[in-house]
């Protein structure tokens, strides 16, 4: 049973302000010192339609901290939980055995496994000491396509659907 959280945070994304510069992706890697191959945030190009009416849309994607996280539900070790105070989906590194079942369960392909094999992912930089600046991915975006917002559970679920649709469109 996943405890309900009253407050939900998310890094919102506006596709019409994204130019796919990948600044957010690398800001995250650099500031969080991620090892090779690990990415908490990734920028995707999504094709829509066919030549000559072909278009592409952009998506900068990281953990959405879902209201009902599929990763937590799937984890056989109960290593993943949703934090009550702020809705963050967190991994207990002492419990996770790196089996990767969460990665299969997540529709957004979020879970990452670095050198130690333990699941890791975006934590919204909530524990980083950023001197009141926004998380590096948000801070660095030239189009201000990303923004940290506080939402209700129902708003968060709408956002989850929107991102899932965008992903499916490509």
């Amino acid at each position: 049973m996943i405890p309900a959280s009253e407050i939900e945070y998310l890094i919102d994304f506006d596709s019409e302000k994204c130019t796919q510069c990948h600044g957010c992706e690398i800001a995250c890697k650099a500031w969080r010192e991620l090892s090779y191959g690990v990415q908490y945030r990734r920028v995707l190009n999504l094709w829509q339609g066919e030549y000559p009416s072909v278009k592409c849309a952009s998506l900068s994607l990281a953990c959405l901290h879902c209201v009902e996280p599929a990763c937590a539900a799937a984890c056989p070790e109960n290593a993943i939980s949703k934090r009550e105070k702020d809705g963050l989906v967190v991994v207990d590194e002492t419990v996770c055995n790196g089996c990767g079942i969460c990665a299969d369960a997540c529709a957004f392909e979020v879970p990452q496994f670095g050198k130690n094999g333990i699941m890791q992912k975006c934590d919204l930089c909530r524990d980083q000491q950023l001197a009141q600046a926004a998380p590096p991915c948000v801070d660095t975006c030239p189009g201000k396509a990303l923004s940290v917002i506080e939402v209700s559970q129902s708003e968060k679920m709408v956002h989850e659907k929107k991102i899932a649709q965008l992903l499916r469109s490509g």
Binding site: A30, K55, Q132, A134, T140
Partner: protein, 775 residues
């Protein structure tokens, strides 16, 4: 002066004053709050972040796409922990990047600490191309180069030295200064970037007409990549802003990139056929009388002759060449001509074809006769800067004698020097080594550029590098040309030195040292100062004193480097209110050529160009086919049915640099050929297959990316692939046949491969693509 306290960190010593403010602020901030607003990092926050996390913060200028270069000069806060450069944040106060910074900027520490960094000056001990060297000292290297250059000057004349141009950099002027002091005009400009537009624009409308994006209701991005050329710079932000206010956007290019994804209309033009498209648009607006007669009567020369000339270029004709449906050509021409606030942002894509100058002239004429020049929301002429640092080009030494020594003039000698300095075409310098015509260049210095992956004709380039008497490579990291070098000079990145000052429109900023150099070397500025000194040109090179060089140039701005450094986020020069319709002044500008004749002899837009006519070129823009194309060489299409061209910019690499940086390589790990799903399917090619791409001139082996957003008759690849990435276990690719270097694929036929006026080199050919079957 503030007294220096030894317990303070370096950044604190720089910014004592600001620290007092910061300490005051700190009293109020007892805990880190989680903010939901959009806050970019300013100096106070950067210092605060550094203090909290036990790091140092050094404000400086990003060095990843070449400060002073096209997208360069972004302000950053660099963070250092335990003496190691860790990361950067965009500087909120910088008017260049407004707090944002791109992927390349963030990857800077990996570039600085790359195993591919050059660490010691090297001298060749093996055969050319073998790559065997011995370590020598910085001073021994300088002395050796000076000795060779002095000897060659005596024997062959000063013009036997050429310096190959990197993309525009803050050190570019030093290269010119060295050449002029030495007595050689042979600055090898690429012939494929910016100057081609500048030239055709200046001799057609008197100046470079810049899009007034902020005010436009319609923006045509033509052969332009507004994003990758500088993702956090003004054009990219203007692009987003235009989208947000629902301005209509049209993208003219052969494939869909993110900018096309946000545009309203995509015009999928065949590579290298922009001139045909532009001529047809002229045909439409004149035939349909969509022109500004008042402007044409008062400010244009030769309308009647233009009118008669473009009658032949109807949209059906252009459809056959460009592949753009005639109906779409008519639609776009009408939309542009009838939208009062409409701008064209013409990009580097039009500068890679034998008809480049014609395309640019035709587009400039289109702006003029439809009344879009220097009007709100159209294409405007920039006001000259109010303040500028001292000009360090030795212009008083430009003489007919010097100009006549150009080994392969980028622009005809009658037009030299164009803009600021005399230039030879980059490729033609190397060609002279092989042909001896008009004379062979003996020494090439390659600072921040790699000939074998930057210019066309790879096999000839490699032969020239092998044959050169003396070849000097000056760079930060390993380049493709190094095995052929006689001397290799490693230089510091801009993170390891405290110069130069960076001046971009609206902003002046000091480069501040982030870390000590990671090896026994100096900056590229100091290299030319030291070499100048050793050559006996000390008077022209501030006697080797870099501090004096900086202060001398800053003097007209009323400050020195120490004073500038005390401004942690530099000095912002606000721009004045725009002044439109400066026709009288702009159409009477004098050129920089030796006779200083006007760009426009009639004081009017040159629809009919008497200057070009007099010099033996067409007075009206024409259509010229690429060396190989579906129309020019139908006999080749059975064997080579697809058009090949290349991308000049990418989202994560600067030209042919930085493939060795893991963060950037992970974004784009493989050299991929964009191929339409239909073109792939008939060849049984699927995503990530290795494929062979064959042209009449060479072949490469690359990976296929099935790309729905490209013309089905065209395939494209990013240029500049060769380098591996040690950290990710990726090896180098071969430079010529069988490698990934697109330059190897094109014609360099002197009769066909160049624009005759501006020496733009072709980047179009015909190819076949086949699945690679490993045997």
């Amino acid at each position: 002066m503030v007294a220096v306290n030894k317990n303070q960190t370096k950044s604190e010593r720089y910014f004592n004053k600001a620290l007092i403010v910061f300490q005051f602020e700190l009293l109020y901030i007892t805990s880190i709050q989680y903010l939901t607003s959009e806050v970019d990092m300013d100096f106070k926050q950067a210092l605060q972040y550094a203090r909290i996390n036990g790091e140092e913060c050094i404000p400086t200028v990003c060095g990843m796409c070449g400060p002073g270069g096209p997208g360069g000069g972004c302000g950053i806060y660099a963070f250092v922990k335990d003496g190691r450069f860790k990361k950067v944040a965009g500087m909120d106060e910088s008017p260049v990047n407004n707090g944002a910074i791109c992927a390349k900027g963030h990857a800077a520490p990996q570039w600085v600490y790359s195993p591919d960094r050059l660490t010691h000056p090297l001298k060749r001990i093996g055969k050319k191309g073998e790559g065997k060297f011995e370590k020598i000292s910085w001073n021994a290297a300088i002395d050796h180069i000076a000795e060779v250059l002095t000897q060659q000057k005596k024997t062959f004349g000063a013009e036997s030295l050429a310096i190959l141009s990197p993309a525009r950099r803050s050190y570019s002027e030093y290269l010119h200064r060295f050449l002029t002091a030495h007595g050689s005009p042979n600055y090898g400009h690429s012939g494929i970037c910016f100057m081609q537009r500048e030239f055709a624009y200046c001799y057609t409308v008197g100046d470079f007409p810049r899009p007034d994006y902020g005010q436009s209701d319609l923006i045509i991005y033509w052969g332009r990549q507004p994003i990758y050329s500088g993702p956090v710079a003004k054009p990219a932000r203007a692009f987003i802003a235009a989208k947000q206010r629902n301005a209509k956007m049209i993208a003219i290019k052969p494939s869909v990139e993110p900018d096309v994804g946000l545009a309203d209309i995509w015009v999928p033009v065949r590579p290298g056929t922009d001139a045909a498209l532009a001529l047809a648009m002229l045909n439409v607006v004149i035939a349909e009388n969509l022109i500004d007669h008042v402007f044409v009567d008062k400010w244009c020369y030769g309308f009647k002759r233009l009118q008669a000339h473009v009658r032949a270029y109807d949209p059906k004709w252009a459809e056959n060449i460009s592949g753009v449906p005639a109906s779409q050509i008519v639609e776009v021409a009408r939309l542009y001509a009838t939208t009062p606030r409409a701008a064209i942002d013409l990009g580097n894509g039009v500068e890679h074809a034998p008809s480049a100058s014609d395309a640019i002239r035709a587009i400039a004429i289109l702006m003029a006769i439809t009344g879009h020049l220097d009007r709100q929301g159209g294409n405007i002429f920039a006001m000259p800067p109010k303040a500028a640092p001292k000009d360090i080009l030795l212009k008083e030494r430009y003489t007919p004698d010097l100009i006549n020594k150009l080994v392969g003039p980028e622009f005809p000698v009658a037009f030299q020097p164009f803009l600021e300095e005399p230039t030879s075409a980059y490729y033609r310098i190397l060609e002279s080594v092989l042909t001896g015509k008009p004379y062979p260049v003996r020494t090439v210095i390659a600072p921040g550029t790699q000939a074998s992956v930057s210019t066309r004709g790879t096999k000839n380039v490699l032969a020239a590098l092998r044959k050169l008497d003396f070849f000097v490579v000056v760079d930060v990291a390993r380049t493709a040309d190094i095995p052929y070098a006689d001397i290799v000079i490693p230089v510091a990145t801009s993170y390891e030195v405290d110069h130069p000052f960076q001046m971009v429109p609206g902003w002046l900023m000091a480069t501040n040292r982030v870390i000590e150099p990671v090896g026994p070397f100096k900056s590229i500025f100091e290299f030319f100062l030291d070499l100048g000194n050793a050559m006996g040109y000390g008077d022209e090179f501030w006697n080797g004193d870099i501090g004096e060089a900086m202060d001398d140039q800053l003097e007209p701005l009323g400050m020195n480097m120490t004073e500038l450094r005390q401004q942690p986020s530099g000095v912002v020069y606000p721009s004045g209110p725009p002044v439109y319709e400066k026709f009288e002044a702009v159409f009477n500008r004098r050129s920089a050529s030796l006779n200083q004749g006007p760009y426009l002899p009639q004081g009017k837009v040159a629809l009919y160009n008497t200057t070009f006519e007099k010099a033996g070129f067409s007075p009206l823009p024409e259509w010229r086919e690429p060396p190989e194309s579906l129309n020019a060489t139908p006999e080749l299409t059975e064997k080579y049915p697809l058009i090949l061209s290349d991308y000049h910019t990418s989202k994560n690499f600067s030209a042919s640099w930085q493939r060795n940086v893991p963060h950037l390589r992970e974004i784009q790990p493989d050299p991929v050929l964009h191929i339409h799903p239909q073109a792939a399917a008939v060849r049984r090619i699927v995503e990530n297959d290795w494929v062979i791409v064959k042209s009449p001139h060479g072949w490469m082996k690359v990976k296929a990316e099935i790309y729905p957003g490209i013309r089905p008759d065209t395939v494209m690849i990013l240029h500049g692939w060769w380098q591996g990435c040690q950290e990710l276990g990726v090896e180098d690719f071969p430079l010529a046949d069988g490698g990934t270097n697109v330059n190897n694929m094109y014609s360099v036929d002197p009769e066909k491969a160049y624009d005759p006026l501006v020496t733009a080199m072709t980047s179009q050919t015909l190819v076949q693509v086949e699945k690679w079957e490993a045997s």
